[in-house]
Amino acid sequence: MTQGPRRLPAAADRVGPRSAKTVTVSLDGGTVTGLAGQTIAGVLLGSGVLSWRRTSTTGAPRGVFCGIGVCFDCIITVNGDRDVRACQRRAADGDVLTSQHDLLPARRPAGYNSAGDQ
């Protein structure tokens, strides 16, 4: 079975969205493309990426859950800024996305600096 989320191609879409420019972002060094106006979550899910964070206690994968900015499951580091809700922030061309796996304080090695901390 083909699996996972994807963006409906405009040509196959009954609502006929206007064609938009592509935006290219990086996720942990890899390249992901989406369309102008999409949220970061929209770009990632639209490209088949279902999760981009790991929880602190169990390391379980997380992506979008509530989709409307309430649950904070989809947080991601954007251009060095931590904890940005991917479902709320529009993607900008060239955004550097870093997935978060924040270790519990007791498990942090000496000198640990979680992603994006200045």
Binding site: G4, R18, G67, I68, D73
Partner: protein
């Protein structure tokens, strides 16, 4: 000019802004999103605008022709409301504006603290508005009950699936299960289906007998019945969904629930089961269904934190209490839409119009709001009817297993929550939150809070305590949205507190 500040630009907020302007007040309309419409009228961004939306701009009909209503119902009404407000010099629209706190000032007017800029950004512009009247139209979000595997990627709230369909044209999966309770499951299934995904079934936990008490035995019939009773577009809309369901042969099953999701790192299947009238799974009825996404919504939770911060009283059902004017227990603060009861978009529009008119200084008896008052009265029973037909059954906890996560933020399992409560001999929310960490995470208990409350209340009852809770409420969140230390610090260093010397007497007082 009297200044009215409105928080939330969904149906209630847009109607409130329109009515307040018509009554002669100056209006500032805030929304955290960068477009108007709220969740109900969520739409594609301008760069990807849908063809029917472009074509519909100059029409005066309220409903679009066949097909155009695919993503938005009543879209022309939305477009008219938006266009009029955008063209109005005395209506200041501030999108991408997150209210993060409300304080009560000495003169009774609320001080509304906001951040303007990209969501969760670093250098958002801070300001404080002190309007003559505040209208809260903050809406509601899905309530999803925990079940084993609900934390797997591929499990979405119904609202997420709908937002991704409406605002992104993203399908959450290829084979999608929709489950939970309430009439909202139908538009969710419709949205998912519109993205090209196969909806393999809609599983409504309520039994037909219970649906009959609130609605009618068949969901597609209820719509017609209620349309006949005068609930209008809301029910025409439900009828449309039901019609589409039938056309596309999406199985709609009542008295069934998703009781587990399975997979390693992503959903590969779900287990559905029959549930009894109290939502307890019936043993021997479990059936595994292959699916790569599941959208689950068991109802809605009102977004109450701003109302609570403003000092507004809640009613026993835990919605904001309002009088006939839409006024809360705080004379300068009004409320409209789902935070006053889950009644749907038409009720929100009517309540917003009344609240906007009265917040601007008008009276509920004025002819200008007569139609809205009638519409509000007609729709009044809607919320209780939904609750009667689809309200959560207490037996749902029987589908929990010890490892089921309760708090997604802090990874607190059902077992850990119980162990914490037992070890501390506590059933109070405050102490169990602190000892177990359930509800202490970054979502501030928005997802698990009411569930934790109910689980603790169950324990309290089992222990013979009349009331298990200690008076603490999960709905109380003084800091409504995260604010970065640098943003807080920037304000303090930029300017001392107090009214800005440059403020205009014609606009809500603002300090930056």
């Amino acid at each position: 000019m009297r200044q009215v500040l409105i928080v939330g630009a969904g149906p209630a907020g847009l109607a409130a802004a329109t009515a307040a302007r018509a009554a002669g007040a100056g209006v500032t309309l805030l929304d955290a999103a960068d477009q108007l419409g709220g969740q109900y009228w969520r739409h594609l961004p301008a760069q990807r605008a849908a063809t029917p939306e472009m074509a519909a701009e100059d029409s005066s009909a309220d409903e679009s022709p066949a097909g155009a209503g695919l993503l938005q119902h009543g879209r022309r009404r939305f477009q008219r409301l938006r266009a009029a407000l955008e063209a109005d010099q005395q209506c200041l629209i501030r999108t991408s504006s997150q209210v993060w706190a409300i304080e009560r000032t000495g003169d009774g007017r609320p001080a509304v603290h906001m951040l303007e800029g990209p969501p969760d950004g670093r250098d958002r512009r801070r300001s404080v508005l002190t309007p003559d009247a505040l209208i809260l139209a903050t809406g509601a979000h899905d309530r999803t009950l925990p079940f084993p595997g609900w934390d797997l990627p591929g499990v979405f709230s119904g609202g997420a699936a709908q937002a991704l369909a409406k605002g992104e044209r993203v399908a959450v999966g290829h084979r999608v299960v929709v489950a939970g309770a309430g009439p909202f499951l139908l538009p969710v299934a419709e949205s998912v289906s519109s993205t090209g995904a196969a909806v393999v079934g809609v599983f409504e936990a309520s039994h037909r007998t219970r649906l009959a008490a609130g609605w009618l035995t068949r969901p597609w019939k209820l719509a017609w019945e209620l349309a006949g009773a005068g609930a209008g577009a809301k029910l025409g809309e439900l009828a449309g969904y039901a019609g589409n369901q039938l056309r596309r042969r999406i199985p709609y099953r009542t008295g069934m629930a998703v009781v587990a999701a399975h997979g390693i790192d992503r959903v590969e299947a779900v287990t559905v089961a029959r549930v009894d009238s109290n939502w307890s799974p019936v043993s021997g009825t479990q059936r595994r269904i292959s699916a790569d996404a599941v959208c689950v919504s068991h109802g809605f939770t009102p977004r109450l934190e701003l109302a609570i911060a403003a000092g507004c009283a809640l009613n026993p059902d835990r919605f904001v209490q309002v009088d006939a004017d839409g006024r809360t227990s705080v004379p300068t603060v009004f409320a409209a839409g789902e935070i006053t009861g889950i009644g749907g978009a038409d009720a929100a529009l009517a309540q917003g119009a009344v609240a906007g008119h009265c917040a601007a200084g008008g009276s509920v008896a004025d002819p200008a709001v007569a139609a809205a008052v009638r519409s509000r009265a007609r729709l009044r029973g809607f919320a209780s009817r939904i609750e009667r037909a689809h309200g959560i059954g207490a037996g749902w906890t029987d589908w929990l297993v010890p490892d089921t996560l309760i708090c997604r933020c802090e990874d607190v399992s059902y077992r850990a929550l119980g162990d914490s409560a037992a070890a501390t001999a506590a059933t109070g929310l405050r102490s169990v939150k602190l000892s177990s960490r359930a509800g202490l995470g970054i979502c501030q208990g928005r997802i698990c809070g009411r569930t934790v409350e109910e689980l603790l209340a169950d324990r309290g009852r089992a222990a013979g305590l009349a009331a298990g809770l200690d008076g603490a409420s999960v709905d109380n969140r003084p800091i409504v949205s995260p604010i970065r230390m640098s943003e807080l610090a920037a304000q303090v260093s930029a300017q001392p507190p107090g009214p800005s010397p440059t403020q205009s007497p014609e606009a809500p007082r603002e300090e930056c």
